[in-house]
Symmetry: C2
Subunit: 141 residues, 2 copies
Amino acid sequence: MPTRSGSELDPKLMDALVQTSFSVIARLSQAAAAHDLSLTQLRMLAILRDHQPKMAELATYLGLDRSSVSGLIDRAAKRGLVQRTSSGDDGRSFRVSLTADGRRLAPALTAEIAELIAPLTRSLTIAERQRLGDLLIRMLR
Amino acid sequence: MPTRSGSELDPKLMDALVQTSFSVIARLSQAAAAHDLSLTQLRMLAILRDHQPKMAELATYLGLDRSSVSGLIDRAAKRGLVQRTSSGDDGRSFRVSLTADGRRLAPALTAEIAELIAPLTRSLTIAERQRLGDLLIRMLR
DNA sequence: TATTGTTATACTCTATAACTATA
DNA sequence: TATAGTTATAGAGTATAACAATA
């Protein structure tokens, strides 16, 4: 039986997770900034690539207040990246979706992010990268 | 000879790194927010635990403009967590250091962070956590 | 002249509270 | 009454530009 003992966390693992995370997030921010986007805008675009949420749903996805998302969408809409489209039945609500411009941006961003994150893994062998990916995926499950 | 081929990054590894990082950073933010601190304030306190930098050095550590750090230190000083102390030789510069209150905060924060991050690793066995830590440390080196 | 740090200004992000329109 | 979204307001965080003091 495998050992999955309780709540203790090896300080070395904690430090490694924290350092890795700061490094990854910094690279994401860098990719976003290259397109004059904030990290939040980047997350929003990633969500809208696969969903057309209502404002309240988007707020939940992002972990933000609805009022914060209003401004977020305002600014992104002013830049022509997203749009509010009528929701049909409920006259109070809208759906948010990417414009053609917004949709065009997504793959470029993904490619840039990959290029910025790839160097982080350069000191690992292919086999080690495979193992790392497996462990992280199992951890997130 | 181990294979460390070029710039390609497995999308699965990239996603796993990104998701893990968002999860870790969210937990760090949560620990910080529990003490009315931002993520930046948390990073600043972590740096000051081991250094007494000048303003410009602190700005470099944090990757921020000096003007941004001025406000950061102002707010932290108003809360009694940090202080500006004369640098001795150079009349233009100061050193920033933790106050007694600030120093008291650090271990509490570390413990809370560990408690928030530990559950993330719960689905891995002890051996897997060990391997994950090793891989991350090698990656960061 | 160059450097250190601050200040003035402007913008994004965020939350709380109050509001409008619809249900 | 309750819900969806916006607006008003306030504060943190950030950068650029201009500044004072020191080197």
